[in-house]
Amino acid sequence: MIVNDKKLPDLPPPASTVGLVGWMRTNLFSSPTYTVLTLIVAYLLWITVIPAIQWAFINADWAGDSRDACTSGGACWVFIGARFNQFIYGFYPETEYWRIDVLFVMLAILIAALVYEGTPKRGWISAFTLIVFPIIAFFLLYGGSFGLEVVETHKWGGLSLTLVLALVGIVASLPIGVLLALGRRSEMPVVRSFCTVFIEMWRGVPLITILFMASVMLPLFAPEEIDFDKLLRALIGITLFQSAYMAEVIRGGLQAIPKGQYEAADALGLSYWKKMGLIVLPQALKIMIPGIVNTFIALFKDTSLVLIIGLFDLLAIVQAALSDPKWLGYSIEGYTFVAFVFWVFCFGMSRYSQFLERKLHTGHGAR
């Protein structure tokens, strides 16, 4: 009988389960069905992705200022380069570009400060972003005071107009959404039914019909003397639409606050507005941020609809540039550029909201 009192060294795992081969066996070729599927998908990727990369990068033309520079047969990014200023600033006078640049930088700094966890006084910064920044932005963009030249709104366009629409939509709809959400949860039947009907009506119809309504019917409903600006009409439509969606997000947040909080505030003798403003909303707003970011993403994508009522946002201005006889036939480049810009914004925001959700989701069943 052989007795071994020393532990024998572990045998190495079979060669087919470690390293690249092992990884491929478990992740790509674990069963006959998976093997076939992997091969089919790999083939499809091979015939689509490789030509796409060749078109977009390897065979592409980057430098130049007219279509004559596009000779390699791939993507003609020269088109984007030549029209870049227009795509960003619209028809804004070239000498005044610095005003938009200042706003871009301010916005970037504010957002960076809000996103970064360690910034002191984030509450004040968010209040500044929501209340003071829009006012500064209006005076800078429109001008007319502080010795700035007036730039009419029909000259606004491109990415800057897209951002104006989205930011005004979100900033204006936030307070209206709070009021609507509180109203929908109110105990007064008139207030509750009015808010419910208002919310469901705007949520039940497509944004296009609201934009149409804002552009066709607002001038009918307003007294003769008032002449609504086209941009203002679009903004009113977007705000009405967005506030209904915002109200539902906020209602979700309000419902998530435990009843004890409401009752404790009542027991302390706080009035309705003090109860909401000091106890409920500060807690609710914090958990609503992911939802608000998600509706903002939807709104950001939806701003492209203003093209239909004749405003030149990023998509519309590229669409217009595509019909320029000097640059005919570069529609794929144009759309790819717009898609890329929208994608970067939306993907970034959705990642941020997922991060927040994970952070708030502490407790049981953490993912």
């Binding site: 992740n27 009015f194 119809v205 497509p206 994508k301 239909i308």
Partner: protein, 396 residues
Amino acid sequence: MPTDVKNGVAPSSKPKFWNDPEKRALLFQILMILTILGFFAYIISNALFNLEKRGITTGFDFLGQAAGFEILLTLIPFDATYSFGRTFIIGLLNTLLVSVLGIILATVIGFIMGIARLSQNWLINKVATAYIEIFRNIPLLLQIFFWYFAVLQPLPSPRQSIEIGSAFLNNRGFYIPWPEFHPAFMFVTIAFAIAVVAVIFLVKWNHKRQDETGQTFPVFRAALALLIGLPLIVYFLAGSPMTWDYPALKGFNFRGGATIIPELMALLIALSVYTGTFIAEIVRSGILAVSKGQSEAAHALGLNNSRTLRLIVVPQAMRVIIPPLTSQYLNLIKNSSLATAIGYPDLVSVFMGTTLNQTGQAIEIIFMTMAVYLTINLLVSLFMNWYNKRMSLVER
């Protein structure tokens, strides 16, 4: 009241009416009703004044007048002599057409991609993730433009069509063969109806037998054989009462078969690809919501994989999936109104676009259009509530 106590005055037993929450609420609501009524009276009087000044008569009389324009795609007969009221029906039918087709396609794409997203296969998993992350972060309108202006319009003209079997793809549309039914085809339809009834009885009989004896019958295969076999036998007995109408190039364009116009194709592809991403995420979260213990328990009871999936996992996942899925369907119906940007003749494009421009009856037309979408929303919500009630867990 603290102030009262400080001043030495006894607190009055009857509070002032503005301190009584009930009366205050009543007053507030009356004020609110008055404000709303005042607001409406104000804008209506403005509207009446403005309409009179522009010489537009209000009312729905315009619906009876002759339209005087043609529409690209009509499911029911239409030409310029039909009324404006008819344009409303045409637009509504076209909206429903693209919505129904879009919902079917988006559901198929969404379920495949949602399951692929959970696949153990690394490559399939990553492809599904890439699809979802790319397409849901790009505006739908841009995707519609891309398919329409960058993919379908540069296709060759009818003479150089791309041939796919006996179907043809060119810049005028997609021409496909279309079945032509002869009167005797009725027998096949009847046979199919009989098969459906038979399958229903078969399923019931199987349930009963399983309850009584514990034995099962391969219902699925039998049902499939009934549903396909019976109509097929009748079809050949009736002497093949159906022929295919093939598209053929005549002159400058194709004749025969059926045509899918490029506007419809672009809209359909964009809508289903875009909505498919959201459905995929819903399906994924629905399947993940069924805890692993459920399928482990089913396996422990001796159910095989397909039965576990069919009897245990899917019914529970569907309960989570259906409510958000319906709201995606509603979004798709509402998003189909983007058709107007590429000229697909849907309700918004035909009625709110062309008819409004021709008649100038802005208020009536916009209200009618909004009412259609609101009604669809309401009907689907009612159905959803009914379904939720039926599917919700019966808790003891």
